[in-house]
């Protein structure tokens, strides 16, 4: 249902100690945030990409698709960094003057954008390495070792369990609406979307009621052991 999650449980590196995977990914991630030469970003990306595709066995087609996910943001922000404003035209490689203000591109802007592009790619490959090879079960062990408060880990464990239930339900409700022409026009789409969230929320509340009963029959004493 969630592709990243699916691979986390089925990849070839899943049996490796999660702390090792976490430390390695975080180490590379932090290394990539340091002001290192540009070529090193490429190096990090290649290493992480290789480990993810070759060692963990994530199909390259889906991996490339996943890498595209954060790119909307990247494109938007690179545009805004590459274009500069100024009152004098000297620093620009290329500029146009609008009402006395220069709008253009500077060499530093290009360098900055390039750095950002490469750095983000490197970091994303690190994050993907971690999330694609470490199932949530194992991640929890890491967070326990990191001394994250118990209350937070408990919530994570429970939320993770319920996510899949509600995702499935939301999909089913949406399909049923679609079959009855709920998403024809923009206005109808908004209306149907509101209805879907209402139905989903009612189900959340019903589930809470039923699960409390189930908890009671399992001697729940206020603590979810993790």
């Amino acid at each position: 249902m969630l592709l990243i999650d699916k691979y986390a449980y089925t990849n070839k590196l899943r049996k490796i100690n999660p702390m090792v995977k976490f430390s390695f990914a975080m180490g590379m991630l932090i290394f990539s945030l340091l002001p290192i030469p540009l070529w090193l970003y490429g190096g990090v990306s290649l290493i992480m990409g290789y480990l993810t595709v070759k060692s963990a066995g994530i199909p390259i087609k889906n991996y490339s698709k996943m890498l595209m996910i954060p790119f909307t943001f990247l494109v938007l922000s690179v545009i805004s960094i590459i274009i500069s404003f100024g009152e004098s035209g000297e620093v620009f490689m290329w500029a146009t003057k609008v009402r006395g203000i220069y709008i253009g591109i500077t060499p530093q802007g290009i360098e900055m954008s390039l750095r950002l592009l490469l750095r983000s790619t490197a970091c994303i490959t690190c994050m993907y390495f971690y999330s694609l090879t470490t199932p949530l079960d194992q991640q929890i062990q890491v967070y326990k070792k990191l001394r994250i408060p118990k209350e937070i880990i408990e919530l994570m464990v429970l939320i993770y369990r319920f996510i899949f239930i509600f995702l499935e339900e939301a999909k089913e409700i949406r399909n049923a609406q679609e079959m009855r022409f709920g998403y024809n026009t923009f206005k109808q789409s908004c209306h149907s979307f509101s209805l879907m969230i209402k139905v989903l929320f009612i189900r959340v509340m019903q589930r809470n009621k039923d699960m409390q009963i189930s908890l009671e029959s399992k001697f729940f004493n206020g603590e979810f052991h993790i």
Binding site: L2, G86, Y130, I163, C190, E223
Partner: protein
């Protein structure tokens, strides 16, 4: 009847305090330099501690609240994974990070928010680990607080419920965008014009892409609300 009223109240606050976002609002992994990544994470800490304290109080009152809070957290995550209708055909995702705030007190929402944002980055690749602090600050702390404040204020002024919800969600969104733009401009001042030029650039881009979405979000939230009242 009592249960129904309770449900209504919960729903009201869910959507009032649900700032909305598109995927592009999450600052992506690796985008912020190390210094800023640390700074924004540190900025979240006091709110998280407050949240944790409140969480413990709530659990102390009744441990059955754990289940409810977790269900709400999952609900919020699922909302953020759904595509909401939008005119341009592009997709946007609502983020109901503020859920549960009134049920359990506003500070809890920072905890719920950071968990949802962590799952978003790990399971959906929206946002990132090094930018988790910055994203939590804008989406799970500032946005919901503003939405909540606006709602309370408008309610006091006697505005109709639809208007309250619309303004609260739309403004909550916009403030979240502004904070994100601010975070980006601080990290990447313009080569020529410095911080102000950079801020106006980021705000400009967000204005183009996000303002219409904020308005849509506000409308959808208001609509959901009316649907609920009718029930």
């Amino acid at each position: 009847m009592k249960a129904k009223i309770k449900l209504f109240i919960i729903m009201a606050f869910v959507f009032v305090m649900a700032p909305v976002t598109v995927q592009a609002m999450h600052i992506m992994e690796g985008y912020l330099p190390l210094g800023w990544a640390i700074l924004w994470s540190v900025a979240c800490i006091p709110f998280l501690i407050m949240g944790l304290k409140r969480l413990r109080e709530i659990y102390g009152a009744s441990s059955t609240n754990k289940m409810l809070l977790a269900l709400c957290g999952a609900f919020v995550f699922v909302l953020s994974a759904l595509k909401i209708p939008s005119v341009t055909g592009s997709c946007s995702h609502p983020t109901g990070v503020g859920l549960g705030a009134v049920m359990f007190g506003p500070s809890v929402m920072s905890i719920l928010g950071i968990i949802v944002l962590l799952f978003q980055s790990l399971l959906l690749a929206h946002g990132g680990l090094t930018t988790l602090g910055a994203n939590t600050f804008s989406m799970a702390i500032v946005g919901p607080f503003v939405a909540y404040g606006v709602y309370k204020f408008m309610k006091k002024k006697g505005a109709s419920i639809g208007v309250c919800v619309f303004l609260a969600t739309a403004l909550g969104d916009l403030v979240t965008y502004c904070v994100t733009a601010f975070q980006l401009a601080l990290a990447y001042p313009d080569q020529v014009g410095g911080f102000t030029a950079s801020l106006s650039k980021f705000l400009g881009i967000f204005a183009l892409t996000q303002v219409p979405l904020a308005i849509i979000e506000g409308l959808v939230s208001a609509l959901i609300f009316t649907v609920l009242i009718e029930n």
